[in-house]
Point group: C2
Chain length 168, copies 2
């Protein structure tokens, strides 16, 4: 396979994966493009490469900065802003884990805690089932939260070394 075709295929695959995981397709594609670019790119170049509008490019780039996945670069003597992605896949994973934990897991933990204060008749099967499900989910969520917390602090080699060794 040729480089040009491979790039297109990568961008397409990354976009699809993103959209399956609740991440805007264009955002995932812009990220993909910057991931495989050795040079930082301008908004203009990104618009061109992915055939998207200026508005879309601008918002998407802003979002990616908000996710901590890309950064702006200024080149001496130029007005234009250049964008480049952190290429370290472990950093990317941690960054995504960190943001999704904050944006999604933590709000859910908060709700689960509120729900565990529910009061009712301990003899009522509906009440018992509700309490058990909520408690079980709460325990799982706490375990996931702890594991993510560890991941956020960990070095990649240590993390996978530990995980995969334990699992033989």
């Amino acid at each position: 396979m040729e480089l040009a075709a491979a790039k297109l295929k990568f961008i397409e695959a990354w976009g699809k994966l993103g959209s399956e995981w609740g991440i805007n397709r264009t955002m995932a594609q812009v990220h993909a493009l910057l991931l495989i670019s050795s040079e930082a790119l301008t908004t203009e170049e990104i618009m061109e490469e992915l055939s998207i509008s200026r508005g879309n490019a601008n918002m998407t780039l802003r979002d990616l900065i908000g996710w901590g996945l890309i950064e702006k670069q200024h080149k001496a003597g130029e007005r234009k802003e250049y964008f480049f992605a952190d290429k370290d896949v472990w950093n990317i994973s941690r960054q995504v884990a960190k943001e999704r934990k904050k944006r999604e897991l933590e709000p859910v933990l908060k709700v689960l805690n509120e729900l565990s204060t529910v009061v009712g008749d301990e003899k009522d099967p509906e009440f018992k089932t509700f309490k058990k499900s909520v408690n079980d989910i709460n325990k799982l969520a706490v375990n996931v939260d702890k594991t993510l917390e560890t991941m956020l602090k960990a070095e990649e080699s240590w993390f996978w070394g530990s995980v995969l060794k334990v699992f033989k």
Copy 2:
């Protein structure tokens, strides 16, 4: 908090979480409803409870069966079908992991393998960057795949025991 209010809140939260993770909101809500029901419910009851149409309920229930999260139940002397959810949160996690691995991770691994056959000029920075990113992502994906594979076979207490012990 009262049981009725808590149920609504749980269904809403589960639906929101689902939609953030690429799962249809209604599907997550139907799952939530069955998770906290001590009794199996009919299509009619589900439509009523969540204010959704018959068509929507039918398709959603079929999808949930396809995900292995709920099952049909037949009651003696009745024509109606009843639906109930597996309440074991570890089973649910494994089932979701199994399906998403099959539907999403495996196709991506396939593409990444194809992409690693790319040919080009080893001196070209664009080529080198592409190859490195694809290889790094490939390695990560393989590690995730292995970990999920272990999870699918594991008992809950063993799994979290191991993971959390390693991470102190």
